[in-house]
Amino acid sequence: MAGIEVRDLSHRYPGAKELTLDGIDLQLADGEAHAILGGSGTGKTTLLNLLAGLLVPERGSIKFDGRDVTGLSGAQRNVAQVFQFPVLYPSLDVTGNLEFPLRNRGWSRQAARTRVLEVARLLDLEALLDRQPAGLSLFEKQLIAIGRALVRPDVAVVLLDEPLTAVEPATKWRLRRALKTVQTELGLTMVYVTHDQTEALTFADKITMLHEGRVLQTGTPLEFYERPAHQIVAHFIGSPGMNLIDAHVSAGALHVGDISVGPVSAAPGPCVLGFRPEWAEIGEVGIPVTVQSTRVTGTEEGVAVGLVAAHLGDQVVYTRQVLGGSLDHDARLRIDADRLIVFRDQHRFDHD
């Protein structure tokens, strides 16, 4: 396993005017599970293919454990990859599939068998070892594809390209859990590309979010939740995402309309206020809002909690709170003054 350092990586497809990736910097510690998050067309698959050595960057460098691998092929870099759809060798049985990368690298049959058994035990695949791929479910096939990616003990990094896409929804979590278990147990460095925030937040030690070929933010899942660096991140993470409403700063305080919501140390002027639905409450004090709907999502200590949607001017805000009897049509929104996040020009404004 290896640490990865990516510097100023840019890529442009032949004939394209725009850069698909523009100056990406990335740092992965040895044994880190790193998720690349982003919508479609944000360049995340391109980044993965650059790491895999399938594409050559226009600019920038990739280092594995300090060794520059930018010009090397994927096989020379010693990476393994899991794809959106299970990629297996149809004419080989499951054992044959799993030992394929080992045998190609000169392992003896005996040593390869032993290693295959280890990996199979780890992924709970032992019962399938003699089967042919044709009769297996998508879940089982993808598990085998993952097994093949993990079978080489010396692999520098395991790259996963939306590996849960093709799997039946009911078995997604099982596969994710299996993946997370082996990742931790074997201390693998993994790069996991996904458009699904839940997958990223639950799987990764660190997340990098891409947008239009640039990095919006790199950080732990908690940082993504609590301190999004960009409005797009703020909105993308969470369900529903962070509320983003127009506000302005004057006299050292943040105002929504003419009501002050708390002190900030920013220069006066317009800005965007961000707060999670969990960080606010609709009740009897604060900014006047019109409640649109409430939806119960569960109970806490016998009290119903849920999601409240309300209009603030022409913007919609959500809160997650106890659903008391005081939720009149005309209510007021109180935002936790300690957790205000201010965005200017889309970026988070650090006021501390």
Binding site: T45, T46, N49, L54, L55
Partner: protein, 272 residues
Amino acid sequence: MVDPVDDRRKAHWSLYVYCVYLLLPLYWLVGMALKTNQDIVGKFEVVPGNPTLANFAEIFTNPVWYQAFGNSLTYVTINTILSVAVALPAAYAFSRYRFLGDRQLFFWLLTNRMAPPAVFLLPFFQLYSAVGLFDTSIAVAVAHCLFTVPLAVWILEGFMSSVPRELDEMAQVDGHSFGYFFFRLFIPVIRGGIGVTVFFCFMFSWVELLIARTLTASEAKPIVVVMTRTVSASGLDWGVLAAAGVLTIVPGLAVVWFVRRHLVRGFAMGRV
């Protein structure tokens, strides 16, 4: 989408060698078409010394030739349309359902290509005479279905199997009738497959000689048959024959041109 590595594979040098092998006889055909009979049989020349368009002029001015050309196009077109029309529902059934004897049926369809024409020609002649279709384009078109239909079923089935079943289910959920689904939603999705099928039907029907010759006399005589009868007083008229040969390639090329993109993209074939 991202298409890395292997998709941009360059042509291997051996391909060029094969293309030369492919082109030389074709070059010779074109060369013959531009020569007089005396020059063809009389001497060896790599480049025609006295190129002439007389052979082509003969074809374009002689009604026997250009009508035969029209006859061929007629039955090939009928055959292609008929093959695709009957193969579409069958291919759909093969790709979406299992049914009693499906694989055997498919093999039976194929066996009809295996009848050696030499003796089957007489019964063919008798059959089509009995139903009053002798010497019509329809007779040739229907007879050629023997070998175009199995291929059409197979190709279309391959394309249909690569269309996810969810499309059918979605249409059902959306409340579309089967007819609407099949013609307005499904057929557009597999139009590439239809293009490829058209090419193969066209090809096998266009080049066939024995059945076409047996089932026609004068009215519907196709170009391949006229070509076998280009015997003049001085023997075979090589030049005109070569010119006709060159012209017979043209309609096929037009069809390939239209389906080239679908051929490039390829088709995932499910069934054997």
